[in-house]
Structure formats: structure tokens, C-alpha cells
Amino acid sequence: MTVTLDNVTKSYGRTVALHPTTIRFDHGVIGLLGPNGAGKTTMLRVLSSALSPSAGTVTVAGHEVTGSHAERTEARRRIGYLPQEVVFPRGMTAFGFLDYIAVLKEWGDTTGRHDEVRRVLALVDLAERATVKVKALSGGQRRRLAIAQALLGDPALLLLDEPTTGLDPEQRASLRGLLSGRPGTVLISTHQTEDVSALCDRVVVLDAGRVCFDGTVPDLLATAAGRVHQGPSANPGAVQTWRTGTGLIRSVGGRPAPDSSAVEPTVEDAYLLLRSATPEGAPA
């Protein structure tokens, strides 16, 4: 399964949400990192065909999302998408909601559709809540229900916009297990850098509508090697500093303080350093 964006741009009036971008996603779990307004959601919406790009072409498994209606429909048949914010329809049960979405995803056969709905409900651990009205579900359960709809039909391309928002640590771990075992392509937009380090084969960092990093997690970590320190005092000129639970101060970037020692960087450290290198992310 290959997904490509070829010179894709998206503008909202005068605001450019996505500058001309050419990128290819193959098999694996890919993390999209970036601050709010970086263009992550725009990229996912364009990929999902929910949003038309201002220019450029998007191809999913050889089908042009930006092409004819038939091509777009073929692409949509291969996509599962979790939007960032989901407003659920009123009066439906968890099962009824998924069953309706399954119909919209062209599951015509009732028996097969119901089996599929039960399968995805079990995947997100909501089988016991199938007959409960959506409005009676907790925030985390609703989020899992929204994830379940994206999993319907086991799509070749899974686009998840901040899937772990509202999930507790156990549910997050469970989701990681679910996604890590999937074949095909999974694109996750997230602010949770620990999800990226735990799950992703590849990281794409977006900033102000541009790709500013594209590589593996070790590649990203390598950019921060020797630039994160811990000691009794903060590094002068550090991008970020904070007192850890041990009482020592962790400094990301800056000149090493005399009594500090270099520590293993995390994805978050690398991300902060990457951000500080861009005009938008540089500390004031």
C-alpha cells in the first residue's frame, strides 16, 4: 500500500495550511508530529479525501483521491479515518452507530456487517457496551468508539488524528498493541511523543505547513544526541528546562552547564530541539 502526496498545497483564503509537499508513505506506522496549526490535520483530511487540496495530487494505492469520482470512491474504500473531533449522532447505540457507518462503508450484507461491527467493538474493548446509547458512554469510551469506526473493514490506510486523546494509560497501551500489529499503512497525528517513540517506524515533523523532518525514530533521536543534559543547574541558552523528580534539572539544548552530564534524549527532546531550529519554534 503506497500513499503519495505530489506537490500538494492547501490554503484557506490567504492562510497557507500546507505548503507544496511531496511525500510518500509506505507500509508501517508513521507518526505526524508538530505544534497546533502545523498542518497535521489538514494533511490527514486531504489524504482522507474529506478536504480537497488547493493544488497537487494525492494517490492512495494507485487511486487518485483528487481524480474522478470513481477514483476517489476506490481510494475511500481503502481508507479508515478518525477525525480529530467527532460529534456523534443522537439516539444511537454504540452498535447502531457502527452499523450505520458500516453501511456507509458499503457493507451491504447484514450478517457480515454485524460480524464486522462486533469484531471492531471487541478490538477497542467495547463489546460489553454495544447496546448502550452513545451519550451514556464516557469520554474515553466514545473515543474508542470513534477509533472502532475507523477500523471497520480493516482498511489498508488508517488515518488517526490524535487517537489517544482522552484515553487512560491502559487504553493507550492497548491501542498501541492494536496498531503495532497491523499490516498496511497507519498515519497517526499526535502530540504524544511517547506514542511515537513506542509505536512508529517513521516520524514526520510538520511545522507551519512544511515538513521539517522525515526519518526513523533513531534518526530523530540522533539529532538530539549530546544536546540534552541533567545536573544541578540549567544549561545557559537551553530551549527548555525543568526540574525532574530526582531534583536535578533537565536541559534541552543550550551550552552544557559545568556540572551537568549528557543523558539519553527522548523523542520529545529531539522534537523540542527541532522546533527551536525553525523560525516559528525559536524561543523568544
Binding site: 479525501s49 449522532p89 453501511v103 458499503e106 457480515g112
Partner: protein
């Protein structure tokens, strides 16, 4: 990898069945139907217990109940179903079934109120035949029972189709909070104004989809004549059905991915049919307002 969705059954049919179930699950629909049944039964019983000297029209000739309970409430039900469908599609972000198919499926769900209205109509026709209206009401020359039964169909059955389609249309093009109740108020207000009380509106009042065709309009000192207003109710039914088709097409047109060029042609053609039917409604049928020569007490 991707589990192939079973696409043997055409999706419109599957989705239409689903929307029909949703319509049948709407509490407001059942509320309206229960009230309609109560009113219809009460009308039948009332006709049976009234004497011939009571100078009453047949109880079956009151079309306000089906129009309000299936048509106006249907507007609210359908607007709600459309919003629900839109929210579900938005929750999925992207789905293979396009908006126009969902719209067509929702339109197909009008079979529920229409079937209910047809049942009401069957009961009304039986009531009308078993307990015909007194000679001082309708029918009177030059028209007969067919005229009255057509008006009953136009005012009692067609609103059960038109009301929900108006709800679909509004939910598609004006999906804002408060639009549905406002539309209900406006429909009722305009209907009151254009029910034929003002002579100046007699000719063109038929442009509005709900209006009276006859009634006890001579209200002087307790006695009066029944009056039949000009126009052809048969062609009016054609006009109303063309409006319904037009409503569905305009609702489908909302889908930006639809074949809009072809739809524009269809919309234009249907609007043309509606316009012709409207003009013919005004020009054919009764040329002038006609009084029943037999006087009776005003009911």
C-alpha cells in the same frame, strides 16, 4: 488486508431500509400516528352517531389532522434523521457512500408517513362513502365525489410526502439550529393566510402547497352556503408531486460531488413541469368560485 465490504446489495436499497427503520423509530412519528388514529376513529364514531339533520360534512373531510400530524411532524422527524445521517458521516470523516445516496435513502424513508397517510385515506374514503356529507356541503354540481376525494388526497396524503421532503431540504441547505421550528411556524402561518378566506387570493392561492378548496365561507347570521374555489384539484396533485420531486432533486444537488450539470437539467425540467401544472391548476377545473345553492346552518 482490507476486508472487502460486501457490495452485492445496492447500497441505496440497504441504506433506504435503514432510514425507513430510523423513521419508524422516531417517537414523534408514533405520537402523530397515534393522534391521527384517535382523530380518525373519533370522526367515524361521530359520523355514525350524528343524525342526517345535523347538516355536517363527512368527518372524513377534515384533512388538517393528517397534514399536521404526518406532514408537519414529518418535517421535524426528517430534519432530525438528516442531521443524524450527516453527523454519522462526519464522524467517519470519509465514507464510500456519497451524500447524494444518503439523501436519496432519506427521501425513500418518506414511504413510512406516506403509507400511513394512504391508510388514513382508505379509512377516510370508507367513512365518506358510509356517511356521506349532507347536500348543503360538498359535492354539488358541477362537480362530484371524485373532486372531493381528490382534494382529500391532495390535502391529506400529499403533505405526508411534502412535509418530510421539506425537512430534508432544510436540513441539507440550512443546517442551523432553530431552522426547523421556524419553518414549522412559517408553514402554519402562511397556510392560515392562504386557506381561501380572502377573495383576492382565490386564483393564485394554489401556488402554496396547502390550501382549502371548499368550505362554509358564507358566515352571515348563522346560515350560509358552501363555496368551492376555482381551479383544478387534479392538476394541483400533479403540481404538488412535481414540487416534491423538485425538493428531492435540490436536496441531492447539495452534494458537491454529484453530477451537478445533469442535476441542473433535471431540476429545470421538474421546475418547468411544476410551473405548467400550477398554471393549468389555475386555468382549468372550476372557472369561478361556485356556491352550493342549498343553504344550511354554518357548522
Amino acid at each position: 488486508m482490507t476486508t472487502t465490504a460486501t457490495t452485492t446489495a445496492p447500497m441505496l436499497r440497504v441504506l433506504a431500509r435503514r432510514e425507513i427503520r430510523h423513521y419508524l423509530g422516531a417517537k414523534l412519528y408514533w405520537f402523530g400516528t397515534a393522534l391521527l388514529v384517535a382523530v380518525t376513529v373519533a370522526g367515524f364514531v361521530g359520523s355514525a352517531t350524528r343524525g342526517a339533520a345535523d347538516h355536517q360534512p363527512s368527518a372524513a373531510m377534515d384533512m388538517i389532522a393528517p397534514a399536521a400530524l404526518l406532514g408537519v411532524l414529518g418535517l421535524i422527524v426528517m430534519a432530525g434523521l438528516t442531521r443524524r445521517s450527516d453527523r454519522a458521516a462526519a464522524a467517519a470523516g470519509t465514507v464510500a457512500v456519497p451524500e447524494r445516496t444518503r439523501t436519496a435513502a432519506l427521501a425513500a424513508a418518506t414511504v413510512v408517513p406516506v403509507a400511513t397517510a394512504v391508510l388514513w385515506y382508505a379509512a377516510a374514503v370508507v367513512t365518506y362513502l358510509v356517511y356521506p356529507p349532507t347536500p348543503d356541503t360538498v359535492p354539488f354540481p358541477p362537480f362530484g365525489d371524485g373532486y372531493v376525494l381528490t382534494v382529500m388526497f391532495a390535502l391529506g396524503v400529499v403533505p405526508a410526502l411534502g412535509g418530510p421532503i421539506l425537512g430534508l431540504l432544510l436540513a441539507r441547505w440550512l443546517p442551523r439550529r432553530g431552522v426547523t421550528p421556524l419553518a414549522v411556524v412559517l408553514v402554519v402561518l402562511v397556510t392560515i393566510i392562504l386557506q381561501g378566506n380572502f377573495e383576492a387570493t382565490w386564483r393564485w392561492r394554489v401556488a402554496w402547497p396547502w390550501t382549502y378548496w371548499y368550505g362554509p365561507f358564507g358566515w352571515n347570521s348563522g346560515t350560509g352556503h358552501w363555496l368551492a374555489l376555482p381551479g383544478s384539484p387534479h392538476l394541483w396533485v400533479a403540481y404538488l408531486l412535481a414540487l416534491c420531486a423538485l425538493g428531492v432533486l435540490v436536496a441531492i444537488y447539495h452534494d458537491p460531488e454529484s453530477d451537478r450539470a445533469r442535476l441542473r437539467l433535471l431540476i429545470g425540467a421538474t421546475a418547468g413541469v411544476a410551473a405548467v401544472a400550477l398554471v393549468l391548476t389555475m386555468l382549468l377545473g372550476l372557472p369561478e368560485a361556485t356556491w352550493n345553492p342549498i343553504t344550511g346552518p354554518i357548522s
